[in-house]
């Protein structure tokens, strides 16, 4: 008797799939329901079902990562609202997919494919250890999963540069979007952040900030000053190889020290 596991963070959808599967494939025994990726992997190891139905978008560990952990030890069906993953998976024959919301005929087609694969693999299953089902297109499975995982990561990939500055003010820890920062100036221990909404003091050093902020927009012009280039109105050369940076709409004038003057030489 074939066994299955369902993983989806939305309980209504888990229950719906379970109910529909009961109608479409009565012999299938549902041995586990998982609420998120980590639980899915745990329950899979515990029960070793033949088929796993995986929602792609789940908190923590997502469906693709679960599929990578499962590998070819079970037949994998992605249940997803994202059509594009589905098409890639299906073309290779390595995985099956269901697009939400799905109806009975679609589920029936998927069930039929699954039944065929289970039948064929158990028929020609010599030399295969128990619990291991060689899925058709096995060689294609892992690269495909890797690609899907990479794509998912790309969508949610945090940028490489600082986007928010956390600054403690009297009332709370403010989250300042880096785009609104005008300049940063440090003295002995603290750094002053001047931004469109006010000023705040943070404990980080200019050097740390210079490394983390996007160099296309933020430039260190002095041992203790970093300025947002988009807020600069002009740079005025002074005596002794120094210069002054004037800001748009603000009275402050920031000094450019000799060692940083080269930043402005390219014109």
């Amino acid at each position: 008797m074939p066994t299955a596991l369902i993983a989806d963070d939305e309980p209504l959808l888990r229950e719906q799939l379970a109910a529909q599967l009961e109608r479409a494939w009565p012999e299938l025994a549902l041995v586990a329901q998982a609420r998120h990726g980590r639980e899915a992997v745990e329950l899979f190891e515990q029960h070793r079902p033949d088929v796993v139905f995986l929602d792609v978008h789940m908190p923590g560990c997502n469906g693709v990562e679960v599929a990578q952990a499962v590998g070819s030890r079970a037949l994998i069906v992605f249940v997803t609202a994202y059509e594009q993953y589905a098409v890639q998976a299906f073309e290779r024959g390595a995985l099956d997919y269901l697009v939400k919301p799905f109806d009975a005929p679609r589920l029936a087609a998927t069930v039929q494919r699954l039944q065929q694969r289970l039948a064929s693999s158990s028929a020609g299953g010599s030399g295969v250890a128990e619990g291991q089902l060689p899925a058709r297109g096995d060689a294609a499975l892992h690269p495909l999963l890797d690609r899907l995982a990479a794509e998912l990561k790309l969508r949610s990939e945090p940028r490489r540069h600082l986007q928010w500055i956390k600054a403690s003010t009297a009332q709370a820890v403010r989250l300042i979007p880096v785009d609104e920062v005008i300049f940063l100036r440090s003295d002995e221990k603290y750094t002053l952040v001047v931004w469109q909404g006010g000023e705040a003091v943070i404990r980080r050093t200019i050097r740390e900030l210079a490394e983390e902020l996007d160099p296309d927009h933020f430039v260190q012009i002095h041992r203790s000053v970093i300025v947002n280039l988009r807020c600069v109105s002009q740079v005025v050369r002074g005596a002794n190889e120094t210069a002054d940076v004037h800001l748009r709409g603000r009275p402050e004038v920031l000094p450019v020290s000799r060692s940083y003057l080269h930043v402005f030489r390219q014109m």
Binding site: L12, H36, R38, V232, V235, V236, M267
Partner: protein, 373 residues
């Protein structure tokens, strides 16, 4: 554009064009120069004609003198204008310098022209009473008219600059308006997210198929949300009450989908529902709270939406607080948040604020403050 000596600009590709003319340069100086020269000639002719009856010298001679003086004065006027700033003493405003220069130049030029007429013979000049009298008359006329016209020209210039400034503000305002329109358009475009829609519909279908009694209520919530989400370009300003309805509909839908991971409540003063409020603003913050705050967490959390009126200065404060995973310093602010900031800036200027802070023990607290007129 006139550059000050020693000024240079950093990497041009990053900065927008540098700010405009230094305040003292008039627009189209050559044109104004010619205009002023013409005026000077006209005045010279007029002056010559006016005083001619009182002078022994011929009209032509007079004309030559007045023309010379007035052209010299025009030259002085423009010359002092071009005078580099750092050669002027700091306490002397430029316009006083110009007026003084013209005032001093008038008698000097007149003297020069009289000297020319006696071919440099100073004694011959001084001894002749009529000439000396003529000198004083012309010099005084030159002085008075010169200073008068100089001041008039300066005033005109100031007005022209004020108009240019007004035009620049107008341009900036229309640019802001265009930005606001762009922000609104992309907001409208981004509203109907297929992932959200189809996932929600899948859940509704599940409810309907299982014959759940909750199905009608959920469908109502979905309709309420979609009314807001479907683009309507002619949408006018909405009220706080309508926005809260949308927020409630969205939260009800999301709670259907993640009942074990979302709790929510909407709190705050009553009686504020009729106040105007930017559409889809609180909704953006709530969507962020759910999608980026609660959804990534396996335990989920709570969302609180609140409104309150402030007395001094009169303002409307609206907040969305979540107990989710908080903000990753490397995570880019989403387009929703950026759009919202742009819209608030365009609609209310700097008086409207949108601030994010860390919740405690975790999560994000987003607060909007709108001025109330």
């Amino acid at each position: 554009m006139v550059r000050r000596c020693g000024t240079f600009e950093p990497m041009a590709s990053i900065l927008p064009p540098a700010s405009s003319h230094p305040p003292s340069a008039p627009p189209g100086p050559l044109r104004t120069l010619w205009g002023r020269v013409q005026l000077a000639i006209g005045v010279a002719v007029g002056a010559a004609l006016a005083v001619s009856p009182f002078f022994a010298t011929s009209l032509l001679e007079l004309l030559w003198r007045t023309l010379f003086v007035s052209l010299v004065l025009v030259g002085v006027y423009f010359g002092v204008q071009r005078w580099p700033v750092r050669w002027l003493p700091r306490w002397l405003p430029r316009w006083v310098a110009i007026a003084l220069a013209v005032g001093v130049a008038a008698p000097l030029a007149t003297f020069a022209v009289y000297l020319m007429s006696v071919r440099g013979d100073l004694l011959a000049f001084i001894s002749n009473d009529a000439r000396v009298r003529g000198f004083f008359i012309l010099a005084s006329i030159g002085l008075v008219l010169g200073v008068m016209f100089a001041l008039g020209a300066l005033l005109q210039q100031r007005e022209a600059e004020a108009r240019a400034q007004a035009l620049r503000f107008e341009l900036e305002r229309s640019q802001l308006e265009r930005q606001a329109l762009d922000a609104r358009l992309s907001l409208l475009q981004a509203q109907v997210q297929p992932h959200f829609l189809f996932n929600t519909l899948a859940n509704v279908q599940a409810l309907v198929e299982s014959g759940s009694p909750r199905a009608p209520e959920v469908l109502r919530a979905l309709t309420a949300y979609l009314r807001a989400a479907v683009p309507r370009l002619h949408e006018g300003p909405t009220t706080l009450g309508e926005e809260l309805q949308r927020v409630r509909a969205y939260l009800q839908l999301m709670q259907m989908r993640m009942p074990d991971r979302l709790r929510f409540r909407i709190v705050g003063e009553g009686g504020l529902e009729g106040l105007p409020f930017p559409a889809l603003s609180l909704l953006t913050l709530v969507e962020n709270a759910v999608q980026h705050g609660l959804d990534p967490s396996t335990e989920g959390g709570e969302v609180e939406v609140g409104v309150a009126r402030e007395a001094d200065p009169p303002a409307l404060r609206a907040w969305v607080r979540d107990t989710g995973v908080g903000l990753d310093p490397m995570a880019a602010p989403g387009t929703g948040l950026q759009n919202l900031r742009a819209r608030l800036a365009a609609l209310h200027g700097p008086a409207a604020t949108l601030n994010l802070s860390e919740g405690s023990p975790r999560g994000v607290h987003a607060e909007m403050r709108l001025p109330l007129s």
